[in-house]
Symmetry: C2
Subunit: 124 residues, 2 copies
DNA sequence: CGGTATCCGACCGGATACTG
DNA sequence: CAGTATCCGGTCGGATACCG
């Protein structure tokens, strides 16, 4: 599965802090993936078509994109809406759960903007 | 290096949103690693010894732990303070940059606590 | 105590080809 | 258009053994 880090944490080691640690592990786990944060960021403002996302991420292989989208869907962060048309059309959007993740995305964006270009040591 | 996802984003594809996307990619990148979030969470309240962290994470292999700590240090999120004693003693603590990451940790903890136990579909 | 060094297996992202 | 199927190579985490 690799769905949860539960295995490693379900022991006595983390006893009293189990809930907090498990929470973080869970969040990190469902967001692990090369493009997940970017995809969520892109869906943050509005619904997008598959082709839009693909174009936005430019040269991402279709296989990779589909995989990431499927995982996000599986973990309940995005909705997948299929229109039975020809040619087919699929829209992706954040679920309510996904929307609750937006504040995190925003903070990560801020953090990255602030520190992303600093390559020198910066050790307090 | 794998230090940055820059390669994939430095193209025209993301032109106007380059800064935002790059920020998120940067943040995700320096936090990628099986134990990083947990370690930061554990250091959030106070300085910790190597052996403390190791004990907290219980059965993490030393090699893995050291590697994660080195990467966090390299990326300027934690300080490594060595006491020239026998036996040796090493303390880890958050840098100012690392401390700015605390809000994100807190949100991820909240998010995980809220959704971590829901395994049923929950698609909005 | 707090590491290095080394090896290995699993997983994941990426590429390519094909399809409804 | 929006996938699926398949393969491959790199990377990372984990395990084990040794060191200052």
């Amino acid at each position: 599965m690799s769905r949860l880090y539960k295995d490693g944490f379900d022991k006595e080691c983390i006893k009293e802090h189990r809930e907090e640690v498990y929470g973080i592990a869970y969040t990190q786990n469902i967001l692990s993936g090369r493009w997940k944060y970017i995809i969520l960021w892109y869906l943050k403002t509005k619904e997008r078509r598959y082709s839009e996302i693909k174009a936005f991420l430019w040269d991402i292989p279709q296989g990779s994109l589909t995989k990431q989208l499927r995982e996000l869907e599986r973990d309940g962060l995005i909705n997948r809406k299929v229109y039975p048309e020809v040619p087919p059309r699929v829209d992706y959007s954040l679920t309510s759960k996904g929307k609750e993740f937006i504040p995190i995305i925003n903070l990560m964006e801020e953090f990255g903007k602030k520190f992303g270009e600093q390559f020198g040591e910066q050790v307090d």
